[in-house]
C-alpha cells in the first residue's frame, strides 16, 4: 500500500497525510514509512513526532545530496540503493511504528 497525498498548499493535505498514517498503522498497516516530500516540512508535526515543534530540519547530510545528483535528481533511487541505511541514518521515529523521512529538502539540495 503506497499512498501519495496531493493538493494545493493550505488544503490540509499534511494534516490528512499525518493523521491517516497513524490510523492506518493502528488498523494493522505497520511498519509504515512516512515521507515528507514538501520543501517546507510539516509532516513531523501532524504525525506526532516527539519534539517536532523544536526540530531543526535545516541540516541535510551530504551523502544523500551526493546520491541525488549522481542519479540525475531521481530522489527515489536513494531508497533503491540502500533503503535500510537511509532509514537507519535519516529516518525519524514517529509513534505507532512509523518512520519518517524528509525528502523535500533533499530534492531541493539535489537541484542546486
Amino acid at each position: 500500500m503506497k499512498i501519495a497525498v496531493g493538493g494545493k498548499g493550505g488544503s490540509g493535505k499534511t494534516t490528512i497525510a499525518g493523521t491517516l498514517a497513524r490510523q492506518l498503522s493502528r488498523h494493522g498497516v505497520h511498519p509504515l514509512l512516512a515521507i515528507d516530500g514538501d520543501t517546507n516540512p510539516n509532516l513531523a508535526l501532524t504525525l506526532g513526532v516527539e519534539g517536532a515543534r523544536d526540530m531543526d530540519f535545516d541540516t541535510i547530510p551530504k551523502e544523500i545530496a551526493e546520491r541525488v545528483t549522481d542519479e540525475s535528481g531521481k530522489v527515489l533511487s536513494i531508497l533503491k540503493t540502500s533503503p535500510d541505511e537511509v532509514l537507519r541514518d535519516f529516518g525519524v521515529s514517529a509513534p505507532d511504528d512509523i518512520t519518517l523521512v524528509l525528502m523535500g529538502r533533499v530534492q531541493h539540495a539535489g537541484a542546486g
Partner: protein, 140 residues
C-alpha cells in the same frame, strides 16, 4: 520506492508541477485533497488526470474543511461531473486548528474530533480496499 516494499504514505509537495517528477509512478493510491472552492476543485481534477496518465491504479478525491451542505453539494456535483471518486469528506474542525496552533498532532490532541474520526473512516476504507485487491491477486 518501487523495490522497497513497505507501506508508505507520501505527503507530496504542494501543487501540480511536482507530479511530473515521476514520484507518483511508484504509488498505487493517489489522494487528491479537495476543498469547496473552484480553484481547489480544478486542481484536484487536473491532479487526477495526471495520476491516470502515470498509471496510478486508485485515485480518490478527499474533501476537506467542509462546513455547510452547500459545500458538500458543490463538491459532490463537481466530482460527479468530472468523474472524480469522492471517497471521504472531512469537516472543518476547530480541534484541527487548535492542534496546529499548539504544535500537537490532531490525533494526539483530540482523538475523537470529527475531522480525526472522518480520517479514520478513510483509513478503514483504504485498508479494506487494499486487502480486497491483494486477495483478488492471490486468487488468480
Amino acid at each position: 520506492m518501487e523495490h522497497y516494499d513497505v507501506p508508505t504514505v507520501l505527503d507530496m509537495e504542494a501543487g501540480l508541477e511536482h507530479m511530473s517528477r515521476g514520484t507518483v509512478r511508484h504509488v498505487d493510491t493517489l489522494l487528491t485533497i479537495i476543498e469547496p472552492y473552484f480553484k481547489s476543485m480544478e486542481t484536484a481534477a487536473r491532479m487526477t488526470s495526471l495520476g491516470q496518465e502515470m498509471g496510478v491504479s486508485s485515485i480518490y478525491a478527499v474533501a476537506n474543511k467542509v462546513r455547510t451542505k452547500e459545500d458538500s453539494d458543490a463538491l459532490q456535483a463537481f466530482c460527479e461531473q468530472r468523474g472524480l471518486y469522492l471517497i471521504a469528506s472531512v469537516p472543518e474542525d476547530e480541534a484541527i486548528k487548535t492542534a496546529d496552533r499548539i504544535g500537537v498532532a490532531p490525533l494526539d490532541h483530540e482523538p475523537t474530533a470529527a475531522a480525526v474520526e472522518a480520517i479514520d473512516g478513510l483509513a478503514r476504507m483504504l485498508h479494506a480496499r487494499h486487502s480486497e485487491v491483494a486477495r483478488d491477486r492471490t486468487d488468480t
